[in-house]
Every structure is written in structure tokens, then in C-alpha cells.
Amino acid sequence: MTQTTEQSTRAAVKAKASRVPSKGLPKWVLGLVGIVVFLGFWELMPALGVVQAKYLPPASEVIAALVTDLGLSAFWVAVGDTMAAWAIGLAIAVVAALVLGLVIGMSPFLRRFTNSSIEFLRPIPSVALIPLAVLLFGIKIESSLLLIVYACFWQVLIQVLYGVADVDNVAMQTARSYGFSYAQRVRDVVFPTMLPYLMTGIRLAASVALILAITAELLIGSPGLGKEIALAQSGGAISGMYALILATGFLGVGINAVTRVVEKRVLSWHPSVRGEATV
């Protein structure tokens, strides 16, 4: 009896939820309208003389420059360099933060012992290390990696520590009384609890890594899209510069989308994602 009422309420809620967005235009049409309005506004700004066209070329010109870029191998080499620094830096940071986070998080002593140092080191801005990176590595990929690894390491470490702290005490003690070894406890009790936190950390770190990869290229001059932007700017190729900036934006959107999908796949068994799928 109760079950049927609950089911019917849920059905009602579901019907309401699906009815509301269908009021008016579908969502993707509205989004498209937003994009068109934005591009139109951009196109008109230089045409009406609000901004000089040599500082802000019209949208059509920039998009044309981006399309030309897509056919050039130099552009793809730059994208490849940026993505290589992004991927290597992110991978190093995630592995290091995961291992250290598990070791520190599993021991109450280490957690308290390292807390003050972590809280002190974490807010230090990674760009402060730019001069050091230049001094140590010059204009090579290692400079980018130093900044990326430093910035991403804290993002992931903090999430792993939160995740390990969230482990159910009863589950942990049950595992202990069944005689699970340390490795088994990590694999079967801690890891599943921590995984959603880890995925959040990786998602945040993925966009931070892109920011720092581009920053390092822009400021230090290590190879990649950021360096191309700096070159285009100093060479006066203004629409080329805007085209490259658009490209980095699309790269960011792509990275966000991919990490979302991966997160959903990896956590498909987890209540937070399962709940999303059914409603």
C-alpha cells in the first residue's frame, strides 16, 4: 500500500519534472539563441565603432582565422605540445597525491602531523614558482610540468584526504575483525568510499592543469598554444590571436566534457550517479 502511494508520488514528481522544461522552447534551442546573440553582439561592436576593429576584429573574421588554423600542421603541433604537458603533469600529480593521500589519510597520527604544513603550502600560488621554473629548466616542457604538478597535487590530495576521512568506521572495524590486511583494507574498504572524492579532485585538477599549461607557455615561452598566442600578439596578428584564444576555450570545454563523462562511467555504481540516472 505504502509502496504504491510512494510509486505514484514519484511518478507524479517525474511527470512534473519532465513537463516543466517543455514549457516554451526546448533547452538546446535557447542555448543556441544565446550563442547567436553573443556572436551577433561581437560582430556589431567593431562595426558600430564601439571598439576599434584592429583591437577587436569582428567574430566572422576570427572564426575564419580559426578555420584556417585548423588546416595548419603548426597549429596541431602546438595543440599536441599543450596537451602533452597537460596529460603528463596531471598524471604525475594524481598518482603522487593518491599514494600520499592514502598513506597520510589512513593514519590518524600522520593526518594531524601533516595538517599544518599542508594548510600552509596549499594556498601558495603556483605562478610564484614561474621564476624558479625558468631558472631551473628554461623554456622547456619541464617548466610547465613543475607548475602543473604543484598546482594539481594539492587539489587531488585534499579530496583524497576528505575521501579517506569519510570511510565508515563500522565497515573499517568489520574489515579489521575479519583480518583484512592493510592492502586489502585499502582496496576493498577505503578505495570505493574515496573514489567519488578522487574523481572530483581529478575533474578540478584537469581544468587547473590546462590553465597552468597555457600560463607557462604564455609567460615562459615553453612550446604550445600559449606561446603561439604570445607570438601572435607581439607580431600584431590580432585575429590570429583571437582565433587561438577561442581554440584554448574549446580545449577547456572539451576537457570539462570528457572528465564529466569519465566521472559518470567510473561512478556508475555509486548512489549519487545512479540517482541522477533514474530521476
Binding site: L30, S116, I124, P125, L132, Q233, I238, G249
Partner: protein, 257 residues
């Protein structure tokens, strides 16, 4: 005894790290890493004096103005967009793009559009910091409990007082998460905008030191940036505790049940 123990936990690791640094550098002099004593004297000589007024304080002022403007702008725009379903759907893809755009690439753009001055640096900070606040405000407004909405509607609470007493308080925990991100992005952008095109400021001075191979001075600059970051994070935590006191109280009650 108990306070002694918590002091040990607080200072133990930092002291070990300091001792290790001191031992590692006290042998033959290393060009890249100064000794702790050398760094301390350089730090005092370099930053406590004229530079405090010409470089450090202006940088911090620009940072504060930029971040505060971004927070106000983000919350106001976020409320406007978050409360209107159609507007939210229209703006979502464009906002998503601007959020994904790495903020440092806007430095060359704003250099062209605004020119090289203080206004450009503040504009760079605002353009990077506004997105986390804006998107978190929209998210916070969107996820308000529908029962609460209906209650305030049936009591006839509308307009400004609805925003003031229902919407802002419910969205604050989400907004604060955005402000936290905005602070660290702001600090990064402050440094970058000064490294790019400037003749004063912390970022400029540190790069100057690095180019002239004044290594201890460069390290002391990195320490200054670190201290600003740590100070900002402490101020943020203090403000957050005050603003969200009711929220943490509520969570404790919920967890206790």
C-alpha cells in the same frame, strides 16, 4: 600536557622540514637554494622598506578591488540569471565557454582593449574571478528547496525581501565555495598581469630578480606571494565561519540525528 601535544603536532613537521633545509644548504653554498638565514635577512632587507609601498601594497590593493568587484558582479548577475529559467537556458553555453577559457589568455586581449595600466590589471582579475562566483550563485539559486519556494510564495514574500531572506541565505554555502576558487584565481591573475606588462608590482619585481640572477631576492619574493596566499586563505576561513555559522550548526544537528 595536552596543549604541548597539539603544539607538537602543529610545529613538528615544519620544524623538521626547516632543519632538513638548513642541513642540506649549510655545506657548500648552492647557487639555486639560499640558506634559511640568508633568505630571512634578504627577505627583511628587500621587502621592509620602500618596496612595501611601491610594489607590495599596490598589488594587494588591485587584488582586493578586483576580487570584491568580481564577487559583487557575480552574485548580482547570478541572482538575475538563476531566478529566470529562460535566461538560464539562453546564457548557459556562453557562460560554460567563458568558464572553460583559461583566464591568463585574457591578459593579452585586455592589454589591447584597455591599455597597459591599473585598470587593465583589475579588469584581468575581475574577468577571471567572476565566473566561479557567477556559476556557483546560479547553481545555488537553482538548487533551493522547492518546498521553501512554495512556502515563501504562499506567505506572499516576494521581490527584494524574498532575495534577502530566502534566496541569498540558502545559496550562501554554494556561493562561498565559488568565492574560495575566485580568491586563488585572483592571486594568480594579479601576479600574471604584472609579469606581462608592468613596471611595478610584485610579479614584475620577482621576474626582475630572476632575470638578474638575484636568487635569494627571487626566493624572498616567492615567500611574499606565499604569505599573501596563506593570509587570504585564513581571512576567507574566518569570514566563512561567521557567514555560515547557522549552516554549520544545522549540519551538526542533522549529523547528530
Amino acid at each position: 600536557m595536552k596543549t604541548l601535544k597539539s603544539f607538537g603536532y602543529l610545529l613538528g613537521l615544519p620544524l623538521i622540514l626547516l632543519a632538513w633545509w638548513w642541513l642540506a644548504t649549510s655545506g657548500e653554498p648552492n647557487f639555486f637554494v639560499p640558506t634559511p638565514a640568508k633568505l630571512l635577512t634578504t627577505f627583511v632587507e628587500t621587502w621592509f622598506g620602500e618596496r612595501m609601498l611601491t610594489d607590495v601594497l599596490p598589488s594587494i590593493m588591485r587584488l582586493l578591488v578586483g576580487v570584491l568587484a568580481a564577487i559583487v558582479l557575480g552574485i548580482v548577475l547570478g541572482l538575475a540569471v538563476g531566478l529566470n529559467r529562460t535566461l538560464r537556458a539562453v546564457t548557459e553555453p556562453v557562460f560554460e565557454f567563458f568558464r572553460a577559457l583559461p583566464p591568463p589568455v585574457l591578459v593579452p586581449v585586455l592589454m589591447l582593449l584597455v591599455g597597459i595600466n591599473d585598470g587593465m590589471k583589475i579588469a584581468v582579475i575581475i574577468s577571471g574571478c567572476v565566473w566561479p562566483v557567477l556559476l556557483n550563485t546560479i547553481e545555488g539559486v537553482r538548487s533551493i528547496d522547492p518546498v521553501q519556494n512554495e512556502t515563501s510564495r504562499s506567505y506572499g514574500i516576494t521581490g527584494f525581501s524574498r532575495i534577502r531572506y530566502q534566496i541569498l541565505p540558502s545559496a550562501t554555502p554554494t556561493i562561498m565555495a565559488g568565492v574560495r576558487q575566485a580568491l586563488s584565481i585572483g592571486l594568480i591573475l594579479m601576479v600574471i598581469s604584472e609579469m606581462f606588462a608592468s613596471s611595478s608590482g610584485l610579479g614584475f619585481t620577482i621576474v626582475q630578480f630572476q632575470r638578474s640572477f638575484a636568487v635569494p631576492e627571487m626566493w624572498s619574493g616567492i615567500v611574499v606571494l606565499g604569505l599573501i596566499g596563506v593570509a587570504l586563505s585564513f581571512i576567507f576561513q574566518w569570514v566563512q565561519r561567521r557567514v555560515l555559522r547557522w549552516y554549520h550548526g544545522l549540519k551538526e544537528v542533522e549529523n547528530a540525528v
